[in-house]
């Protein structure tokens, strides 16, 4: 008799989960639509040269940046070496103001606001909660639970498939957004991509756990992402250290510190170091996965059929 291989079965399950996630057409198209919209908005702003302070309304913009542009574009002055050195220093300072202005604006309004507050959680949430939650809703989970595969293995296979798509959208989408962000966006990618990866791992694992625990996991994940994370982020003191978003921002602030990008009120925000934040996020990932495997292997799903 031809023997069945558990490893082949598990690997095929991973492949099947990848296929099935891709076939959730509506979900994928909406995610792509969000990416396309964000990329288009960022791209149009790049083409319009909006990543500077030149167009800012009086009294914020105007004089200071115009001066920096003029200084930066100035030709070499006749004169002695010390004067030239001084001019070079002034031009460097002006260039760095203009450069950092773009990076600062891009970071604050695209990365920290639009991407971190919405796109990253929603892309992670969509794929992670649909992995098990979608099967329960469609009543097809019975076909997986009936296979001779250990339940933790099924859970892990689903997570791997989720991670593929979450990373593809989060990291890939972030790369695309930064690429079309031009001069302001490209350094942002090299600074922030580790934070994006760690946050994706942690959010995906947490939302995957919610999918195993709750029938309407998407809604529970929404409460976490758009209520708890928002409320905790605005709390003074150490309460905010319960949220994944806090550690992600700490990683990003730590990298961007040398460019003067930091929390609005650091003495209230009390950020942690990048390494600490990274380990915490990895720890959250591992813990969520472990608990999820345990929960999934012990749960009786009464809505199988």
């Amino acid at each position: 008799m031809t023997s069945a291989s558990p490893w082949k079965a598990w690997l095929y399950l991973v492949w099947l989960c990848l296929q099935r996630q891709a076939r959730a057409h509506q979900l994928v198209w909406i995610a792509l639509g969000l990416l396309a919209l964000t990329t288009a908005v960022v791209g149009l702003n790049t083409l319009g040269g909006r990543w500077t302070m030149n167009h800012w309304r009086f009294p914020r913009g105007g004089g200071g940046t115009q001066l920096a542009v003029w200084v930066e574009g100035m030709g070499p002055l006749p004169g002695s070496a010390p004067a030239l050195a001084l001019q070079t220093a002034l031009k460097g300072a002006a260039r760095s103001i203009l450069f950092q202005a773009g990076l600062s604006i891009f970071s604050n309004w695209v990365v920290f606001s639009v991407f971190l507050s919405f796109l990253l959680p929603i892309w992670s949430l969509s794929f992670a909660t649909d992995a098990i939650g979608g099967e329960r809703e469609a009543r097809t989970l019975v076909w997986l639970l009936h296979q001779p595969l250990p339940r933790p293995g099924i859970y892990l296979a689903k997570y791997i498939a989720v991670l593929f798509y979450s990373l593809a959208f989060n990291l890939g989408g972030f790369a695309l957004i930064c690429l079309v962000g031009g001069r302001a966006g490209r350094p942002a990618f090299s600074l922030y991509w580790p934070g994006v990866v760690c946050a994706t791992l942690a959010f995906s694992a947490l939302f995957h756990l919610m999918g195993a625990c709750f029938r309407r996991a998407a809604v529970v994940a929404l409460v976490y992402s758009f209520f708890l994370e928002t409320v905790l982020a605005n709390m003074p003191g150490y309460m905010k250290r319960v949220s994944i978003g806090f550690y992600t921002r700490c990683m990003m602030f730590d990298e961007a510190q040398k460019f003067g990008i930091q929390p609005e009120k650091p003495y209230i925000y009390l950020p942690v170091g990048s390494l600490t934040a990274e380990w915490v996020l990895i720890g959250i990932t591992a813990l969520s996965l472990g608990i999820g495997m345990m929960v999934f292997s012990r749960s009786e799903y009464h809505d199988l059929n």
Binding site: A24, Q26, L27, I30, A31, L34, L37, T38, V41, N45, R50, H55, W56, R57, G61, I105, N108, W109, V110, S113, V114, S117, F118, L119, I122, L125, S126, T129, D130, G133, G134, E137, F214, R216, A218, V219, V220, L222, V223, F226, F227, T230, V231
Partner: protein, 328 residues
Amino acid sequence: MEVSLLRYRPWRGKLHSPHKSVWTIARISLMMMFHRKIFWVMYSLGLFIFLMYFFGQYLLDWAETTTAETTISVGFIRTEPARFIEVLRNVLKFNGQPEMYRNFFWWQGSMVMIVLALAGSILVGNDFHFGSLPFYLSKPLGRWHYLGGKCLAVAVFVNLMTTIPAVILFLQVGFLKSWEYAVEGGYSLGSWTIAGEEWHLRLPNPLFFGILGYGLVLTVCLSLLLVATAGWLKRTVPMVMVWTTVFFFVRLLTAALVDGLQYHPRWRLFDMWNNTNLLGSALLQVNPYGPRPDWQPSVAEAAIVLGAVSVLCLTYLSHRIRAVEIVR
């Protein structure tokens, strides 16, 4: 035994008009939600903001009353604590002024959206996804009765989290300050002298009607938008994605465009929650062009956008609600 011998009494009642089915559908939908624990968990989270306002007002009043007779030293100046409390009350907008209600409605946005996402998925999405719609439409009622029932149910959830808590806050201010607050500025319907005493009859404070008006704007716009979204997408996760896109993503994007990149304020018209806030502020007679958030479109433009979106949703729903799916 023949049925005719069983002496059943025929039903002699009167058949109600199909319009009454609107409340029946709404009642069933409400029960479906009220039976779920997750709804109550989310509703209690949604009451956080309300409780903060409620107890905040009470705390400030209690502090003011307790420290009424005392004075404190600030540097070399002796002053009454009541003045600081008054300043705090005005800064935080815990003062019963229209801004307080406007801020309350604004901050309730997140949880209202999340509760409505759940409601949309359960009440409407399931009907389309699992095919319960033919059961409704096979009865002697039309698609508008079905739509009315679902919108009424959504309206209850919206008002449970916004209008009703705002009215409670309004009453609380009246109890804490004086009952004059409740009728201040209200139109006088007349006065009479009874047993030597003069009695005036006045309509409530226009602020009260402003609160109800704001609630009505939210009810109409959100219910139509939710039913249309749930009817289009049916399944929970895609519905949640689109719903959050409309209310969270667009808000962040328009804030980035207008506040961050200094675009024209008209770009905020894409933000539905902001549009309802503008219209609601006008009904509350608050200046909508206050310091935060900056640079707003006009109230008329916001109203036009809301109206257009509502009409679009109605048009879509009139085609979507049918007993038999047309497969192309």
